[in-house]
Protein backbone atom coordinates (compact mmCIF):
# COMPACT_ATOMS: atom_id res chain seq x y z
CA UNK A 1 0.00 0.00 0.00
CA UNK A 2 1.33 3.42 -0.94
CA UNK A 3 0.93 6.54 1.18
CA UNK A 4 -2.46 8.11 0.56
CA UNK A 5 -1.73 11.67 -0.55
CA UNK A 6 -5.33 12.42 -1.51
CA UNK A 7 -7.86 13.99 0.89
CA UNK A 8 -9.05 11.21 3.20
CA UNK A 9 -10.57 12.88 6.28
CA UNK A 10 -14.27 13.54 6.46
CA UNK A 11 -15.26 16.81 8.16
CA UNK A 12 -11.76 18.15 7.65
CA UNK A 13 -12.56 21.48 9.28
CA UNK A 14 -13.75 19.78 12.43
CA UNK A 15 -10.68 17.54 12.47
CA UNK A 16 -8.38 20.53 12.17
CA UNK A 17 -10.23 22.37 14.91
CA UNK A 18 -9.90 19.32 17.12
CA UNK A 19 -6.17 19.13 16.43
CA UNK A 20 -5.69 22.77 17.40
CA UNK A 21 -7.95 22.30 20.37
CA UNK A 22 -5.76 19.40 21.46
CA UNK A 23 -2.94 21.89 22.00
CA UNK A 24 -5.04 24.39 23.90
CA UNK A 25 -3.49 25.70 27.14
CA UNK A 26 -0.26 23.86 26.53
CA UNK A 27 3.08 25.61 26.72
CA UNK A 28 5.08 25.69 23.50
CA UNK A 29 7.26 22.89 24.86
CA UNK A 30 4.21 20.79 25.74
CA UNK A 31 2.58 21.45 22.38
CA UNK A 32 5.73 20.25 20.59
CA UNK A 33 5.72 17.18 22.80
CA UNK A 34 2.06 16.57 22.03
CA UNK A 35 2.74 16.66 18.26
CA UNK A 36 5.72 14.34 18.68
CA UNK A 37 3.54 11.85 20.55
CA UNK A 38 0.79 12.16 17.98
CA UNK A 39 3.33 11.31 15.25
CA UNK A 40 4.44 8.21 17.18
CA UNK A 41 0.89 7.09 17.93
CA UNK A 42 -0.19 7.41 14.29
CA UNK A 43 3.03 5.84 13.00
CA UNK A 44 2.36 2.80 15.14
CA UNK A 45 -1.22 2.66 13.89
CA UNK A 46 -0.05 2.70 10.26
CA UNK A 47 2.67 0.15 10.95
CA UNK A 48 3.53 -0.39 7.29
CA UNK A 49 7.26 0.46 7.02
CA UNK A 50 7.07 1.46 3.34
CA UNK A 51 4.21 3.88 4.01
CA UNK A 52 6.04 5.32 7.02
CA UNK A 53 9.21 5.83 4.97
CA UNK A 54 7.21 7.65 2.32
CA UNK A 55 5.51 9.83 4.94
CA UNK A 56 8.83 10.68 6.63
CA UNK A 57 10.42 11.72 3.32
CA UNK A 58 7.34 13.71 2.33
CA UNK A 59 7.36 15.66 5.60
CA UNK A 60 11.10 16.29 5.31
CA UNK A 61 11.14 17.24 1.62
CA UNK A 62 8.12 19.48 2.03
CA UNK A 63 9.81 21.26 4.96
CA UNK A 64 13.09 21.73 3.08
CA UNK A 65 11.24 23.00 -0.01
CA UNK A 66 9.47 25.59 2.08
CA UNK A 67 12.71 26.94 3.54
Amino acid sequence: MALNRQPNIADQDLFYAELINGQRDLTEEQADMMIAKLALILANHVGDRAVLSEAISLARENTLAAA
Binding site: D32, M33, A36, K37, L40, I41, N44
Partner: protein, 535 residues
Amino acid sequence: MLHTYTYPEYAYKQSEEQRSGTLKRHPIVIIGAGPIGLTMAMEFASRGLSSVILDDNNTVSIGSRAVCYAKRPLEVWDRLGVGEEFAEKSIQWKVGKVFFHDELAYSFDLLPEADHKMPAMINYQQYYLEERLVKACEASPLVDLRWKHKVLAITQNDDAATLTVETPDGIFKMDAQWVVACDGANSDTRRMIGADFTGQFFQDRFLIADVVMKAEFPTERWFWFDPPFHRDQSVLLHKQCDNVWRIDFQLGWDADPTEAKKPENVIPRIQAMLGPDAQFELEWVSVYQFACRRIDQFRHGRVIFAGDAAHQVSPFGARGANTGVEDCANLGWKLKAVMDGSAPMALLDTYHEERAFAADDNLAHSTRATDFITPKSRPSLRLRNAVLELARTEAFARPLVNSGRLSTPTPYVESSLNTRDAEAFAGKMVPGTNCADAPIQRDGKDAWLLNQLGDGFTILSFGPGAQAVKANDISAKVLEVGKDIVDAKGILGERYDGKPGTVYLIRPDQHVVGRWRQFDAAKVQAALCRALKLQ
Protein backbone atom coordinates in the same frame (compact mmCIF):
# COMPACT_ATOMS: atom_id res chain seq x y z
CA MET B 1 38.98 2.27 47.86
CA LEU B 2 37.94 -1.21 48.79
CA HIS B 3 39.37 -4.27 47.11
CA THR B 4 37.29 -7.38 46.74
CA TYR B 5 39.79 -8.78 44.29
CA THR B 6 43.53 -9.37 44.53
CA TYR B 7 45.25 -9.15 41.19
CA PRO B 8 47.49 -12.11 40.47
CA GLU B 9 51.04 -11.41 39.34
CA TYR B 10 52.24 -13.80 36.71
CA ALA B 11 55.91 -14.65 36.51
CA TYR B 12 58.01 -13.40 33.65
CA LYS B 13 60.31 -16.05 32.20
CA GLN B 14 63.00 -15.46 29.67
CA SER B 15 62.34 -17.59 26.61
CA GLU B 16 64.91 -20.04 25.38
CA GLU B 17 65.00 -18.31 22.01
CA GLN B 18 65.84 -14.94 23.57
CA ARG B 19 68.44 -16.47 25.87
CA SER B 20 70.21 -18.31 23.08
CA GLY B 21 69.74 -15.56 20.53
CA THR B 22 68.23 -17.82 17.87
CA LEU B 23 65.54 -16.58 15.52
CA LYS B 24 62.68 -19.04 15.81
CA ARG B 25 59.70 -19.29 13.48
CA HIS B 26 56.40 -19.86 15.29
CA PRO B 27 53.22 -20.96 13.57
CA ILE B 28 51.07 -18.37 15.39
CA VAL B 29 51.84 -15.44 17.67
CA ILE B 30 48.93 -13.78 19.46
CA ILE B 31 49.46 -10.23 20.70
CA GLY B 32 47.53 -9.45 23.90
CA ALA B 33 46.43 -11.74 26.74
CA GLY B 34 43.04 -10.16 27.29
CA PRO B 35 39.80 -12.15 27.07
CA ILE B 36 40.05 -12.33 23.27
CA GLY B 37 43.76 -13.21 23.03
CA LEU B 38 43.35 -15.95 25.64
CA THR B 39 40.18 -17.29 24.01
CA MET B 40 41.93 -17.20 20.63
CA ALA B 41 44.79 -19.35 21.96
CA MET B 42 42.32 -21.84 23.45
CA GLU B 43 40.41 -21.89 20.17
CA PHE B 44 43.60 -22.61 18.20
CA ALA B 45 44.56 -25.31 20.72
CA SER B 46 41.16 -26.94 20.23
CA ARG B 47 41.97 -27.12 16.50
CA GLY B 48 45.39 -28.61 17.21
CA LEU B 49 47.33 -25.40 16.51
CA SER B 50 50.02 -24.20 18.88
CA SER B 51 50.45 -20.51 19.59
CA VAL B 52 52.54 -18.10 21.62
CA ILE B 53 50.73 -15.26 23.43
CA LEU B 54 52.70 -12.09 24.11
CA ASP B 55 51.42 -9.64 26.72
CA ASP B 56 53.19 -6.47 27.78
CA ASN B 57 51.83 -6.75 31.33
CA ASN B 58 51.88 -9.53 33.95
CA THR B 59 48.38 -9.58 35.36
CA VAL B 60 44.72 -9.68 34.33
CA SER B 61 42.59 -6.73 33.27
CA ILE B 62 42.82 -3.97 35.85
CA GLY B 63 39.61 -2.37 37.03
CA SER B 64 36.06 -2.56 35.87
CA ARG B 65 35.63 -3.49 32.24
CA ALA B 66 33.51 -6.07 30.45
CA VAL B 67 30.66 -7.36 32.61
CA CYS B 68 27.95 -9.07 30.56
CA TYR B 69 28.49 -12.23 28.57
CA ALA B 70 25.83 -13.65 26.29
CA LYS B 71 24.78 -17.18 25.45
CA ARG B 72 26.74 -17.56 22.22
CA PRO B 73 30.19 -16.77 23.68
CA LEU B 74 29.33 -19.03 26.61
CA GLU B 75 28.68 -21.81 24.10
CA VAL B 76 32.05 -21.14 22.46
CA TRP B 77 33.75 -21.24 25.86
CA ASP B 78 31.87 -24.43 26.64
CA ARG B 79 33.46 -26.06 23.60
CA LEU B 80 36.81 -24.87 24.99
CA GLY B 81 36.03 -26.39 28.39
CA VAL B 82 35.39 -23.31 30.56
CA GLY B 83 31.79 -22.30 29.77
CA GLU B 84 30.11 -24.37 32.46
CA GLU B 85 32.29 -22.82 35.13
CA PHE B 86 31.51 -19.29 33.95
CA ALA B 87 27.78 -20.00 33.96
CA GLU B 88 28.02 -21.51 37.43
CA LYS B 89 30.10 -18.82 39.15
CA SER B 90 28.55 -15.75 37.57
CA ILE B 91 25.45 -13.72 38.32
CA GLN B 92 22.52 -14.67 36.12
CA TRP B 93 19.79 -12.16 35.38
CA LYS B 94 16.95 -11.78 32.95
CA VAL B 95 14.85 -8.79 33.98
CA GLY B 96 15.67 -5.28 32.83
CA LYS B 97 13.87 -2.17 34.05
CA VAL B 98 13.85 1.22 32.38
CA PHE B 99 12.98 4.30 34.40
CA PHE B 100 12.13 7.76 33.09
CA HIS B 101 12.49 10.48 35.74
CA ASP B 102 11.43 8.64 38.89
CA GLU B 103 8.90 6.32 37.29
CA LEU B 104 9.16 2.87 35.81
CA ALA B 105 8.64 3.31 32.05
CA TYR B 106 9.19 -0.18 30.88
CA SER B 107 10.35 -3.53 32.12
CA PHE B 108 11.56 -6.42 30.01
CA ASP B 109 12.29 -10.05 30.61
CA LEU B 110 14.97 -11.60 28.41
CA LEU B 111 12.58 -14.58 28.54
CA PRO B 112 15.30 -16.96 27.66
CA GLU B 113 13.97 -19.80 25.59
CA ALA B 114 14.00 -22.90 27.75
CA ASP B 115 16.05 -25.97 26.88
CA HIS B 116 19.41 -24.36 26.17
CA LYS B 117 22.48 -25.45 28.12
CA MET B 118 23.79 -21.91 28.52
CA PRO B 119 21.90 -18.98 30.08
CA ALA B 120 20.88 -15.94 28.01
CA MET B 121 23.20 -13.53 29.82
CA ILE B 122 25.59 -13.59 32.76
CA ASN B 123 27.46 -10.90 34.67
CA TYR B 124 31.02 -11.75 35.56
CA GLN B 125 33.91 -9.43 36.24
CA GLN B 126 36.47 -9.45 33.46
CA TYR B 127 39.34 -10.24 35.84
CA TYR B 128 37.68 -13.47 36.96
CA LEU B 129 37.10 -14.48 33.40
CA GLU B 130 40.68 -13.73 32.39
CA GLU B 131 42.12 -15.49 35.41
CA ARG B 132 40.27 -18.68 34.48
CA LEU B 133 41.34 -18.40 30.84
CA VAL B 134 44.96 -17.92 31.92
CA LYS B 135 44.71 -21.13 33.94
CA ALA B 136 43.30 -22.96 30.94
CA CYS B 137 46.05 -21.62 28.67
CA GLU B 138 48.74 -22.57 31.17
CA ALA B 139 47.33 -26.09 31.33
CA SER B 140 47.41 -26.47 27.55
CA PRO B 141 50.57 -27.91 25.98
CA LEU B 142 49.73 -25.96 22.82
CA VAL B 143 49.73 -22.50 24.43
CA ASP B 144 52.93 -20.67 25.39
CA LEU B 145 51.85 -17.64 27.41
CA ARG B 146 54.62 -15.05 27.86
CA TRP B 147 54.22 -12.10 30.20
CA LYS B 148 56.19 -8.84 29.99
CA HIS B 149 56.70 -9.23 26.27
CA LYS B 150 56.02 -5.98 24.47
CA VAL B 151 55.90 -5.92 20.69
CA LEU B 152 57.80 -2.88 19.41
CA ALA B 153 57.69 -3.42 15.67
CA ILE B 154 56.33 -5.73 13.00
CA THR B 155 57.59 -6.28 9.50
CA GLN B 156 56.22 -8.85 7.10
CA ASN B 157 56.72 -10.47 3.75
CA ASP B 158 54.60 -12.99 1.83
CA ASP B 159 55.10 -15.93 4.14
CA ALA B 160 55.94 -14.62 7.61
CA ALA B 161 56.02 -11.66 9.95
CA THR B 162 58.97 -10.65 12.11
CA LEU B 163 58.24 -9.20 15.51
CA THR B 164 60.64 -7.07 17.50
CA VAL B 165 59.89 -7.83 21.13
CA GLU B 166 61.07 -6.17 24.33
CA THR B 167 61.30 -8.02 27.65
CA PRO B 168 63.02 -7.23 30.98
CA ASP B 169 66.05 -8.98 29.42
CA GLY B 170 66.24 -6.72 26.39
CA ILE B 171 65.08 -6.80 22.79
CA PHE B 172 64.89 -9.84 20.51
CA LYS B 173 63.18 -10.91 17.31
CA MET B 174 60.78 -13.72 16.58
CA ASP B 175 59.20 -14.89 13.33
CA ALA B 176 55.59 -15.92 13.00
CA GLN B 177 53.76 -17.53 10.14
CA TRP B 178 50.66 -15.73 11.40
CA VAL B 179 50.14 -12.94 13.88
CA VAL B 180 46.76 -12.44 15.52
CA ALA B 181 46.39 -9.01 17.09
CA CYS B 182 44.06 -9.06 20.09
CA ASP B 183 45.50 -5.96 21.71
CA GLY B 184 42.30 -4.04 22.24
CA ALA B 185 40.70 -0.82 21.07
CA ASN B 186 43.96 1.11 21.31
CA SER B 187 45.81 -1.62 19.41
CA ASP B 188 49.49 -0.77 18.90
CA THR B 189 49.60 -3.49 16.26
CA ARG B 190 46.97 -1.68 14.23
CA ARG B 191 49.06 1.48 14.41
CA MET B 192 52.25 -0.38 13.42
CA ILE B 193 50.49 -1.95 10.44
CA GLY B 194 48.96 1.38 9.50
CA ALA B 195 45.43 0.03 9.22
CA ASP B 196 42.54 2.47 9.12
CA PHE B 197 40.16 2.44 12.07
CA THR B 198 37.29 4.73 11.29
CA GLY B 199 33.81 5.44 12.54
CA GLN B 200 32.04 7.73 14.90
CA PHE B 201 33.28 9.23 18.16
CA PHE B 202 30.55 10.23 20.55
CA GLN B 203 30.73 13.60 22.19
CA ASP B 204 29.91 12.25 25.58
CA ARG B 205 31.64 10.88 28.63
CA PHE B 206 30.65 8.22 31.10
CA LEU B 207 31.71 7.64 34.65
CA ILE B 208 32.04 4.02 35.70
CA ALA B 209 31.85 3.31 39.40
CA ASP B 210 32.03 -0.13 40.96
CA VAL B 211 30.66 -0.04 44.49
CA VAL B 212 30.52 -2.74 47.12
CA MET B 213 27.27 -2.89 49.05
CA LYS B 214 24.87 -5.38 50.50
CA ALA B 215 21.80 -3.90 48.86
CA GLU B 216 18.23 -4.96 48.61
CA PHE B 217 18.17 -4.31 44.89
CA PRO B 218 17.06 -7.32 42.91
CA THR B 219 19.46 -8.89 40.41
CA GLU B 220 18.16 -6.93 37.45
CA ARG B 221 19.50 -4.44 34.94
CA TRP B 222 18.18 -0.98 35.86
CA PHE B 223 18.46 1.89 33.43
CA TRP B 224 17.36 5.46 34.13
CA PHE B 225 16.70 8.22 31.65
CA ASP B 226 16.94 11.65 33.25
CA PRO B 227 16.50 10.52 36.89
CA PRO B 228 16.03 13.07 39.71
CA PHE B 229 19.43 12.09 41.14
CA HIS B 230 21.25 12.76 37.86
CA ARG B 231 19.34 15.30 35.81
CA ASP B 232 19.37 15.26 31.99
CA GLN B 233 21.62 12.21 31.84
CA SER B 234 21.32 8.43 31.95
CA VAL B 235 22.39 5.92 34.59
CA LEU B 236 22.85 2.15 34.48
CA LEU B 237 23.00 -0.23 37.44
CA HIS B 238 24.17 -3.84 37.15
CA LYS B 239 25.01 -6.47 39.72
CA GLN B 240 28.31 -8.36 39.65
CA CYS B 241 29.78 -11.07 41.87
CA ASP B 242 30.96 -10.42 45.47
CA ASN B 243 28.25 -7.75 46.09
CA VAL B 244 29.95 -5.47 43.61
CA TRP B 245 27.57 -3.25 41.67
CA ARG B 246 28.46 -1.50 38.44
CA ILE B 247 27.05 2.00 38.00
CA ASP B 248 27.47 3.97 34.77
CA PHE B 249 26.74 7.68 34.93
CA GLN B 250 26.46 9.59 31.69
CA LEU B 251 28.35 12.85 32.26
CA GLY B 252 27.82 14.85 29.08
CA TRP B 253 30.55 16.35 26.95
CA ASP B 254 31.30 19.37 29.12
CA ALA B 255 32.20 17.39 32.23
CA ASP B 256 35.79 17.53 33.42
CA PRO B 257 36.85 13.87 33.62
CA THR B 258 39.52 14.45 36.27
CA GLU B 259 37.11 16.31 38.55
CA ALA B 260 34.26 13.90 37.92
CA LYS B 261 36.13 10.84 39.16
CA LYS B 262 37.36 12.32 42.44
CA PRO B 263 35.75 10.36 45.29
CA GLU B 264 34.36 13.56 46.82
CA ASN B 265 32.39 14.11 43.61
CA VAL B 266 31.49 10.49 42.95
CA ILE B 267 30.22 9.56 46.43
CA PRO B 268 27.44 12.20 46.67
CA ARG B 269 26.22 11.20 43.22
CA ILE B 270 25.93 7.55 44.27
CA GLN B 271 24.43 8.44 47.65
CA ALA B 272 21.72 10.47 45.93
CA MET B 273 20.99 7.52 43.71
CA LEU B 274 20.93 4.79 46.36
CA GLY B 275 19.28 6.85 49.07
CA PRO B 276 20.64 8.41 52.27
CA ASP B 277 20.69 5.12 54.20
CA ALA B 278 22.66 3.08 51.70
CA GLN B 279 26.09 2.03 52.88
CA PHE B 280 28.60 1.39 50.18
CA GLU B 281 32.25 1.63 49.40
CA LEU B 282 33.92 2.53 46.16
CA GLU B 283 35.95 -0.14 44.50
CA TRP B 284 36.77 1.42 41.17
CA VAL B 285 36.12 4.70 39.36
CA SER B 286 37.05 5.69 35.84
CA VAL B 287 35.82 7.99 33.10
CA TYR B 288 35.65 6.99 29.48
CA GLN B 289 34.55 8.26 26.13
CA PHE B 290 33.44 5.76 23.57
CA ALA B 291 33.46 5.31 19.85
CA CYS B 292 31.90 3.06 17.25
CA ARG B 293 34.65 2.14 14.79
CA ARG B 294 35.85 -0.74 12.65
CA ILE B 295 39.14 -1.66 11.02
CA ASP B 296 39.26 -1.43 7.21
CA GLN B 297 40.38 -5.05 6.71
CA PHE B 298 40.44 -7.78 9.38
CA ARG B 299 43.55 -9.21 7.72
CA HIS B 300 46.60 -7.26 6.62
CA GLY B 301 48.90 -9.83 5.04
CA ARG B 302 50.14 -12.12 7.80
CA VAL B 303 48.53 -10.04 10.55
CA ILE B 304 44.93 -10.78 11.49
CA PHE B 305 42.87 -8.62 13.85
CA ALA B 306 40.25 -9.82 16.35
CA GLY B 307 38.16 -8.31 19.15
CA ASP B 308 38.31 -4.62 20.01
CA ALA B 309 41.48 -4.28 17.93
CA ALA B 310 39.20 -4.84 14.93
CA HIS B 311 35.98 -3.19 16.10
CA GLN B 312 34.98 -0.91 18.92
CA VAL B 313 31.38 -0.38 20.00
CA SER B 314 29.59 1.58 22.68
CA PRO B 315 29.00 -0.46 25.84
CA PHE B 316 25.20 -0.45 25.55
CA GLY B 317 24.19 -3.97 24.67
CA ALA B 318 27.33 -5.79 25.80
CA ARG B 319 28.62 -6.18 22.28
CA GLY B 320 32.38 -5.76 22.76
CA ALA B 321 33.81 -8.89 24.33
CA ASN B 322 30.89 -10.98 23.10
CA THR B 323 31.57 -10.32 19.42
CA GLY B 324 35.29 -10.73 20.03
CA VAL B 325 34.74 -14.31 21.18
CA GLU B 326 32.73 -14.96 18.03
CA ASP B 327 35.69 -13.63 15.99
CA CYS B 328 37.86 -16.31 17.63
CA ALA B 329 35.42 -19.10 16.83
CA ASN B 330 35.23 -17.94 13.22
CA LEU B 331 38.98 -17.71 12.70
CA GLY B 332 40.15 -20.91 14.42
CA TRP B 333 39.01 -23.58 11.98
CA LYS B 334 39.70 -21.45 8.93
CA LEU B 335 43.30 -20.77 9.85
CA LYS B 336 43.75 -24.45 10.68
CA ALA B 337 42.45 -25.55 7.26
CA VAL B 338 44.64 -22.99 5.46
CA MET B 339 47.78 -23.84 7.48
CA ASP B 340 47.22 -27.55 6.81
CA GLY B 341 46.91 -26.85 3.11
CA SER B 342 43.37 -28.29 3.14
CA ALA B 343 41.84 -25.03 1.95
CA PRO B 344 43.08 -22.06 -0.08
CA MET B 345 43.82 -18.58 1.30
CA ALA B 346 40.43 -17.54 0.00
CA LEU B 347 38.91 -19.28 3.03
CA LEU B 348 40.78 -16.88 5.28
CA ASP B 349 39.32 -13.94 3.39
CA THR B 350 35.89 -15.09 4.52
CA TYR B 351 36.99 -14.27 8.09
CA HIS B 352 36.85 -10.63 7.07
CA GLU B 353 33.72 -11.19 4.98
CA GLU B 354 31.75 -12.74 7.83
CA ARG B 355 33.14 -10.90 10.85
CA ALA B 356 33.10 -7.46 9.20
CA PHE B 357 29.45 -8.15 8.36
CA ALA B 358 28.84 -9.01 12.03
CA ALA B 359 30.86 -6.01 13.23
CA ASP B 360 28.83 -3.66 11.03
CA ASP B 361 25.62 -5.17 12.41
CA ASN B 362 26.90 -4.62 15.95
CA LEU B 363 28.03 -1.09 15.18
CA ALA B 364 24.61 -0.24 13.77
CA HIS B 365 22.87 -1.62 16.88
CA SER B 366 25.28 0.17 19.12
CA THR B 367 24.96 3.48 17.28
CA ARG B 368 21.15 3.34 17.34
CA ALA B 369 21.16 2.69 21.09
CA THR B 370 23.57 5.57 21.61
CA ASP B 371 21.41 7.91 19.55
CA PHE B 372 18.44 7.04 21.75
CA ILE B 373 20.32 7.33 25.05
CA THR B 374 22.17 10.53 24.16
CA PRO B 375 20.05 12.40 21.58
CA LYS B 376 22.17 14.70 19.43
CA SER B 377 19.72 17.61 19.16
CA ARG B 378 16.75 19.16 20.97
CA PRO B 379 14.22 17.78 18.47
CA SER B 380 15.59 14.24 18.84
CA LEU B 381 15.59 14.64 22.61
CA ARG B 382 11.91 15.59 22.37
CA LEU B 383 11.08 12.52 20.29
CA ARG B 384 13.04 10.35 22.70
CA ASN B 385 11.18 11.76 25.69
CA ALA B 386 7.87 11.39 23.84
CA VAL B 387 8.63 7.67 23.46
CA LEU B 388 9.53 7.35 27.16
CA GLU B 389 6.44 9.21 28.36
CA LEU B 390 4.18 7.13 26.13
CA ALA B 391 5.87 3.92 27.27
CA ARG B 392 4.57 4.38 30.80
CA THR B 393 1.03 3.56 29.71
CA GLU B 394 1.21 2.55 26.04
CA ALA B 395 2.46 -0.90 25.12
CA PHE B 396 3.16 0.13 21.52
CA ALA B 397 5.87 2.61 22.59
CA ARG B 398 7.83 0.14 24.74
CA PRO B 399 9.66 -1.66 21.95
CA LEU B 400 10.92 1.75 20.77
CA VAL B 401 12.73 2.30 24.08
CA ASN B 402 16.37 1.49 23.37
CA SER B 403 18.68 1.34 26.37
CA GLY B 404 20.94 -1.07 24.46
CA ARG B 405 19.80 -4.15 22.56
CA LEU B 406 21.59 -7.06 24.15
CA SER B 407 24.13 -8.92 22.11
CA THR B 408 22.97 -11.80 19.98
CA PRO B 409 25.12 -13.45 17.30
CA THR B 410 24.81 -12.11 13.77
CA PRO B 411 23.86 -14.91 11.37
CA TYR B 412 26.14 -14.98 8.30
CA VAL B 413 23.11 -14.98 6.00
CA GLU B 414 25.03 -13.48 3.06
CA SER B 415 28.16 -15.57 3.44
CA SER B 416 29.81 -17.01 0.34
CA LEU B 417 30.38 -20.22 2.32
CA ASN B 418 26.64 -20.97 2.54
CA THR B 419 24.68 -23.22 0.23
CA ARG B 420 21.24 -21.74 -0.26
CA ASP B 421 18.10 -23.69 0.57
CA ALA B 422 16.57 -25.43 -2.43
CA GLU B 423 13.65 -26.73 -0.38
CA ALA B 424 11.28 -25.15 2.13
CA PHE B 425 12.23 -25.11 5.82
CA ALA B 426 10.50 -23.61 8.84
CA GLY B 427 12.33 -22.09 11.80
CA LYS B 428 15.46 -20.06 12.36
CA MET B 429 18.24 -22.41 11.22
CA VAL B 430 18.84 -20.81 7.81
CA PRO B 431 22.30 -21.29 6.31
CA GLY B 432 24.86 -19.05 8.01
CA THR B 433 23.10 -19.14 11.38
CA ASN B 434 24.79 -20.45 14.52
CA CYS B 435 23.24 -23.75 15.58
CA ALA B 436 20.66 -23.53 18.33
CA ASP B 437 21.31 -25.85 21.21
CA ALA B 438 18.76 -28.53 22.13
CA PRO B 439 18.44 -31.15 24.84
CA ILE B 440 19.08 -34.67 23.58
CA GLN B 441 20.01 -38.05 25.00
CA ARG B 442 23.19 -39.92 24.34
CA ASP B 443 23.73 -43.45 25.64
CA GLY B 444 20.55 -43.09 27.67
CA LYS B 445 21.80 -39.96 29.44
CA ASP B 446 20.67 -36.35 29.13
CA ALA B 447 23.05 -34.27 27.06
CA TRP B 448 23.13 -31.24 24.75
CA LEU B 449 23.33 -31.06 20.98
CA LEU B 450 26.16 -28.53 20.77
CA ASN B 451 28.39 -30.75 22.90
CA GLN B 452 27.97 -33.53 20.30
CA LEU B 453 29.08 -31.50 17.28
CA GLY B 454 32.77 -32.14 17.85
CA ASP B 455 35.64 -30.23 16.31
CA GLY B 456 35.17 -30.77 12.60
CA PHE B 457 32.34 -30.57 10.08
CA THR B 458 29.22 -32.51 11.07
CA ILE B 459 26.38 -33.95 9.05
CA LEU B 460 23.38 -33.84 11.38
CA SER B 461 21.01 -36.42 9.97
CA PHE B 462 17.43 -36.86 11.12
CA GLY B 463 17.16 -40.61 10.66
CA PRO B 464 19.32 -43.08 8.72
CA GLY B 465 20.78 -42.74 5.24
CA ALA B 466 23.60 -40.20 5.55
CA GLN B 467 27.24 -41.06 5.02
CA ALA B 468 30.42 -39.16 5.75
CA VAL B 469 31.71 -36.99 2.90
CA LYS B 470 35.22 -35.74 2.22
CA ALA B 471 36.85 -32.74 0.55
CA ASN B 472 40.64 -32.84 0.33
CA ASP B 473 41.61 -34.32 3.70
CA ILE B 474 38.67 -32.77 5.55
CA SER B 475 35.76 -35.03 6.26
CA ALA B 476 32.31 -34.33 7.61
CA LYS B 477 31.20 -36.96 10.10
CA VAL B 478 27.62 -38.11 10.52
CA LEU B 479 25.69 -37.50 13.73
CA GLU B 480 22.50 -39.47 13.37
CA VAL B 481 19.39 -38.53 15.29
CA GLY B 482 17.73 -41.75 16.41
CA LYS B 483 21.01 -43.67 16.56
CA ASP B 484 23.92 -41.58 17.92
CA ILE B 485 21.63 -39.19 19.77
CA VAL B 486 17.95 -39.33 20.68
CA ASP B 487 15.59 -36.40 20.39
CA ALA B 488 13.65 -37.47 23.48
CA LYS B 489 11.81 -34.17 23.97
CA GLY B 490 11.25 -33.44 20.29
CA ILE B 491 12.86 -30.01 20.68
CA LEU B 492 15.77 -30.74 18.36
CA GLY B 493 13.38 -31.72 15.56
CA GLU B 494 11.28 -28.64 16.20
CA ARG B 495 14.21 -26.15 16.21
CA TYR B 496 15.70 -27.61 13.03
CA ASP B 497 12.43 -28.50 11.26
CA GLY B 498 13.93 -31.98 11.22
CA LYS B 499 11.40 -34.02 9.28
CA PRO B 500 12.64 -37.59 8.71
CA GLY B 501 15.43 -37.66 6.12
CA THR B 502 16.52 -34.04 6.68
CA VAL B 503 20.27 -33.46 6.82
CA TYR B 504 22.24 -30.39 7.91
CA LEU B 505 25.88 -29.73 7.12
CA ILE B 506 27.40 -27.87 10.08
CA ARG B 507 30.73 -26.00 10.20
CA PRO B 508 33.38 -26.56 12.87
CA ASP B 509 32.29 -23.25 14.47
CA GLN B 510 28.73 -24.58 14.72
CA HIS B 511 27.19 -22.50 11.95
CA VAL B 512 24.86 -24.05 9.38
CA VAL B 513 26.38 -24.51 5.88
CA GLY B 514 23.33 -25.94 4.13
CA ARG B 515 20.45 -28.37 4.52
CA TRP B 516 18.46 -30.79 2.43
CA ARG B 517 15.29 -32.84 2.78
CA GLN B 518 17.18 -35.98 1.91
CA PHE B 519 20.80 -37.00 1.89
CA ASP B 520 22.54 -36.69 -1.47
CA ALA B 521 26.28 -37.33 -1.16
CA ALA B 522 27.11 -35.21 -4.22
CA LYS B 523 25.17 -32.22 -2.93
CA VAL B 524 26.59 -32.40 0.58
CA GLN B 525 30.09 -32.84 -0.83
CA ALA B 526 29.64 -29.81 -3.10
CA ALA B 527 28.47 -27.78 -0.09
CA LEU B 528 31.51 -28.92 1.93
CA CYS B 529 33.81 -27.84 -0.92
CA ARG B 530 32.04 -24.49 -1.10
CA ALA B 531 32.39 -24.03 2.67
CA LEU B 532 36.15 -24.58 2.27
CA LYS B 533 36.45 -22.38 -0.85
CA LEU B 534 37.62 -25.40 -2.83
CA GLN B 535 35.55 -24.42 -5.85
